[in-house]
Symmetry: C2
Subunit: 191 residues, 2 copies
DNA sequence: GTCTATACCGAGATAGAC
DNA sequence: GTCTATCTCGGTATAGAC
């Protein structure tokens, strides 16, 4: 039941934001009654944190813990990381939906997820990108710009899939591959 | 008072989404009492629509009605459009905050804003981009990709400004100019 | 561990005095 | 046009039977 509540919570929080999602709707989606949430978790806030924790654990599993770009063939490893990131963002749009929902104003939720999940990953990405840059053959971008391109072009279209579908119709079968390739080309050649 | 309610509504809807924002908080921010909203507007829904209408009117004013890229010096005109778009997104982050909030699930709000505001602008952009492409010297991107780059790299960082500030600190004074230049380079040279 | 019942609060909307 | 008072509903959380 805990897993089903977490799954339902991700969908509802992603769709309506922390404030807009209701524990009633989450419980109903999970096939449970609303007080079950306060039994298995302390509060709505604790449920949100548990759901976000699980989401980032899934991300790490997909990326193979953290992107290992410190070996040889740096560019190839970085490209693999980009492909995995785009693939995950397409399969699990809830992560960036939740981040977009909670990044529009300072809140306890934003501070929590930044210190616990985002900041450490920014650190890893910055180190990795520096190594890739020193190996040459990539764009003259700072880590913040790389981050912005990954999120903005690699993940946002999936986070906003309902909008995108209304505008451009059904998603192509090779959408993830095409997008990852474009993104890698952007980061490799750059503006 | 109508204007003050609309201003307050934009901030609250942008921060917490349609479901998460409360008419009480909007009224308080505007220095009014909550029933004033139902007097000046029919409902919370009507208030949201009025606020979004005003936001897109501001966007059009900033862009000079619609981007006129059908004359000569196409690339220069398109670059001006990109700069104006990035500048507006930085000055008025509420637009993309609201769009991101409402694009995570199908809803009456999303259908309304797509048919009334987004789809017509996609149409204009597609025609304009086709003209620019035929004039040559730009990237081999389809209109959907251009749209995604404009939103994802040109607007999202401002929509998520609270997150960005926590990660990368205060925004540089020349942030808009740098970003617009990068974006123009991406669209001109492309991956 | 799961159910029903319910407390308590804040939500949007309306009525009517001024 | 703006105020106070209030209706009704849905929100989170808790109590207690099973």
């Amino acid at each position: 039941m805990v897993d089903q509540l977490l799954d339902a919570a991700l969908i509802e929080f992603a769709a309506h934001g922390y404030a807009g999602a209701s524990t009633r709707a989450i419980a109903e989606r999970a096939g449970a009654h609303q007080p079950q949430i306060n039994y298995h978790f302390r509060s709505k806030e604790a449920l949100w944190q548990a759901a976000v924790d699980r989401l980032f654990a899934e991300l790490d599993a997909e990326l193979g813990a953290t992107p290992e770009v410190l070996g040889e063939d740096l560019l190839g490893r970085f490209a693999s990381f980009v492909r995995a990131f785009v693939g995950f963002s397409a399969r699990r749009p809830e992560l960036h939906r939740i981040m977009n929902q909670e990044s529009t104003a300072d809140s306890p939720q934003l501070a929590w997820v930044v210190s616990r999940h985002i900041a450490p990953r920014i650190e890893v990405l910055s180190v990795a990108w520096s190594a890739v840059r020193e190996a040459g053959a990539v764009a003259d971008l700072d880590p913040a710009e790389v981050w912005e391109l990954l999120i903005g072009f690699g993940a946002l279209p999936y986070a906003n899939a309902p909008l995108r579908r209304q505008l451009f119709g059904p998603v192509r079968a090779d959408d993830v591959d095409r997008r990852a390739a474009r993104l890698i080309a952007l980061l490799a050649a750059g503006p």
